[in-house]
Symmetry: C3
Subunit: 336 residues, 3 copies
């Protein structure tokens, strides 16, 4: 683990790298290069500027709140903020109020990160990961529908039955390669295959196994999305791949110790994430909000939560109930 470093810039670059579970300022710098490259194509620089503002505000907020210093130094209080900052300009038109929303959202993301740490992580052993970004991002985008000074630019709310679906042919080889990289780029909400290649390079300089898992996740998601007949436009933009990429990395390499058994488990998790992506796209459609990385977050929580020798509650009385007699249940497992 790199040495704790009080420099806000280094902490923020590490925060950028933590989006892909790395703790490496050079990797974070490459991620900003990837964002800048995509902006140079579109002429819209709001994503890297919003991301930079978000990670700075989130990291500074963590310092002001006296959050655990090694965690702040590692960038663990910054990666949700960078995603809030990158995501809001993607879905809300520019205005002074947008930039105020980014500052408030990034500061709030630090509190949400601390809340997830104190509950989900500390009590249930589940990493919060980008859950705080998903929650904060959903609230800020949904709020824009209520606020005249925040204009939502993305998809309008609609019923799930109106979703586009596909069952057409398989894209050509060049398209497949581009999708492979866009699946990685879209974690940062970027539509550029080159940006995805830069990001993958950034991961590989920090961890080769993590890079391999990311690539495997991208491939698996592509096969499953095509086999199930997902919306070809969404598949082509990489929107069916970014959550599975994160799941493959998180379950296969980061939060479990790699082994053949873990690889199979991570494979099931990655395939499941593609279904959860399709599901959440439909479930959030009436609300008009993007699913963000929620498919990864939900799947990862479910696959990381199980503990060894765990037994479901038997269909027998629970202990110590307010109303019942409180006969103790049969012990959950012989080993406990």
């Amino acid at each position: 683990m790199p040495r704790a470093n009080p420099n806000l810039l280094v902490q923020s670059l590490r925060g950028a790298s933590q989006v892909f579970f790395m703790e490496n300022a050079a990797t974070g710098l490459l991620f900003f290069v990837a964002m800048a490259y995509a902006s140079s194509l579109t002429g819209n620089w709001a994503t890297p500027i919003g991301g930079a503002l978000g990670v700075l505000v989130a990291t500074l907020t963590a310092r002001l709140l006296d959050c655990d210093a090694p965690s702040v130094s590692s960038g663990l209080y910054g990666f949700n903020g960078i995603l809030v900052g990158a995501a809001l300009p993607t879905f809300i038109a520019s205005s002074p109020q947008l930039w105020a929303a980014i500052v408030i959202g990034a500061a709030a993301s630090t509190v949400v990160t601390a809340a997830f740490s104190a509950t989900l992580t500390d009590k249930w052993g589940i990493p919060g990961s980008t859950g705080p970004f998903v929650l904060t991002g959903w609230l800020m985008v949904a709020a824009a529908y209520s606020f005249g000074r925040l204009q939502v630019t993305g998809d309008a709310p609609r019923l799930a039955a109106d979703l586009v679906r596909g069952s057409a042919g398989i894209p050509g080889p060049a398209d497949l390669v581009a999708i492979f990289f866009r699946n990685i780029a879209q974690v940062y909400l970027l539509g550029s295959a080159v940006s995805g290649a830069i990001i993958l390079a950034g991961i590989l300089i920090a961890s080769v196994p993590a890079g391999i898992a990311a690539a495997a996740g991208s491939l698996v998601s592509l096969v499953v999305a095509l086999a199930m007949g997902a919306d070809p436009s969404a598949v082509s933009q990489g929107l069916y791949g970014f959550s599975p990429v994160l799941t493959a990395m998180a379950v296969g390499v980061i939060f479990l110790t790699p082994s053949p058994r873990v690889a199979v488990y991570a494979g099931l998790a990655t395939v499941t994430t593609v279904f959860v992506q399709g599901a959440l796209d439909a479930l959030v459609a009436p609300a008009g909000i993007p699913s963000f990385t929620a498919p990864y977050v939900l799947t990862m929580y479910l696959f990381i939560a199980p503990k060894r020798l765990m037994a479901p509650h038997p269909h027998a009385p629970v202990a110590d109930h307010m109303v019942g007699e409180g006969t103790p249940a049969r012990p959950a497992s012989p080993a406990r």
Copy 2:
């Protein structure tokens, strides 16, 4: 408790019986008979075949993941899988992708069951019950709206105000008897009163009190649904009764030790479940997904969670807050 049995078939039949909280292979066999009887009427055999596939895959997955052996043997890792397998063909048209979805959903239901066990059960003392089925089933059906190779066959998404409601007369005696049994059959997504009678017989051979609670739950739900003016078609199909049947069994007999006091408490829980059924039908309408057993699951979690001598947090400072002074709160109860 029956002796642990390594036979996959026996474990799977016990899994079928655990849908109604029993651990009895003969009961499970009767439940398959009930499914087969309903299929013989409609000519559609996807429900029993899907159920059989689901419970086998879920149980096998639990064995491969080295889940707690006595729990696997008791069928506690199979009952969510059988429901996933029975439910998906009810709401998604047959295709090779449907059967792939059943396999993936059933395997995932085992992971979700382990996740619920490690958190909700182990940390909060609440049985997971069919919660993993509800979550997995919702995700798989919602995903079908995004996938061209999975066609949803049931109700289309709509706004809550479009729900049908009734306030007409009371059904005749023969209809009431049929609804009484359909309320039980619909736990297995079956519309046949005879299937409901077979299932009730299966419960009674395993536990007379459980059978009485099921019957009482069916009766109470019928009275409340008619009194509130629920959609007569839904009431007639048994759709207002299957969750209250499970609540009456779970709260009245299974998870609390039966007593007059517990019976009153279970009565309130059963009545509440009818309201929650109406509520969830409206809340999931925009997403176009069925409510499954969610009304039972939510109500049961809320009624089983309370512990003896529990006190709400007083309106006084919380302990050890990141920002506050951390003055300890008044002890929650004198007895702790």
Copy 3:
């Protein structure tokens, strides 16, 4: 703390006062005066009568369930019931079934309060506050869409894009003063500024700091709602202020020990609540249910959850996983 008092009337009046975190029967009496004043203007007395019925039923249910006696005596089992009783007639037309729904909802709110206490509070250190009211109220109003004998009178379900938004001028001084008080009155679902003034007086006789926090929350929410261009009609009715008022009190004075640092933290929480209000209004629109105090509840939970020296999970293996090797993660913080 006032002495435990077995009198149901005093317990119920304290329950009324606990809606604003007070434990003072005189304050509770003033709150009923505020409700009665608003009813004298509209001629509709369902709110105070429903509130009285709700708090009596909820408190009696807690006594019958042998809930923690000091908590019952303090009114902590009554304040969710009074809100259920006051809210249901606001959104559902009068009928015998409405009054049955209030009795069932108020009784259920006591069970939900005990469930939140046993989980959220006891395990995660988060006060349940009005979360049980929000959950119970949502379920009862949503159920009305399914029940012919319960007619929803408020807004119909719609998609988020149809929400009214404003960016017009700033209201005049007299309007601003009226909104300032309505922001407080709407916690009790009252639209009268005079009722808000009576409620503020009731808070001040119990706690001057709490009254100051309520006033500050009202002011901050008004500035933010106008700056973001929220629906002018909703702002004028006080609908953008009542949750921030509760957040300012809860985070600034009640659950954290007041200090300049806590005041800044409560300020961020209050601003965040205005965004969450806009967000939840949009998110619940398709379901046709009101957001109730959910914006306060969600924000307060997130801002009260963080504990001192808490660290997010590092991006390293979790301990003791069912499938992984279970290498222990780096300790979450040096101090633990």
